[in-house]
């Protein structure tokens, strides 16, 4: 499959490697943010993570997890998968999205 984007190298829709563009490419891949989200509470095994994501196929989970690991967002140790320090900081930003989503859901159509 495709290459993991890294800051300083071209990503989808840009050749400059601007960090935000690289990040948007990385997080814009299916399940990427969800995986980070599901690791918020505690480390999970591969299969727990798979179940937490509603039965995502192992193929793509493995791909995403490998990318996030290369990006230093997720780590793997004996106990399974967990967020790195960077990953935890990123999760905090996703919490902002959570708040936004809650308000968004309440908007009157």
């Amino acid at each position: 499959m495709a290459r993991t984007p890294k800051p300083g190298t071209p990503a989808r829709g840009t050749t400059t490697g601007r960090p935000i563009m690289v990040l948007l490419d990385l997080l814009g891949r299916r399940w990427a943010m969800r995986v980070i989200w599901e690791l918020h509470k505690k480390p999970l095994t591969f299969r727990e993570l798979q179940a937490a994501c509603g039965g995502i196929s192992p193929t793509i989970l493995n791909t995403r997890v490998a990318e996030l690991r290369e990006a230093d967002i997720v780590a793997q140790d004996g106990a399974g998968y967990s967020l790195t320090a960077e990953g935890q900081r990123l999760l905090k930003e996703l919490l902002g999205l959570h708040e936004w989503a809650e308000r968004w859901a309440k908007r009157k159509t």
Copy 2:
């Protein structure tokens, strides 16, 4: 193409329609966040937006823009495409990602 996820209706990997899950599905589609990002400064025409995203194909741009419009994040008027009030709030959350990305790019490997 696929259905636009809405809060309260099932999204990828969930049947509950939890707002954050719905949002992660919506934003996890290719180019979705990038489109929001590129509208930060001023409204853009379809073709300006296309160029801003590095030549994204019109097919998918149109799909994304329609989804974001249904989600009340992007609006379309005579002057082109722009962010709604909701969209502007969401953009602020993406700015958090920007800061994170800048620090991330500077980390020593």
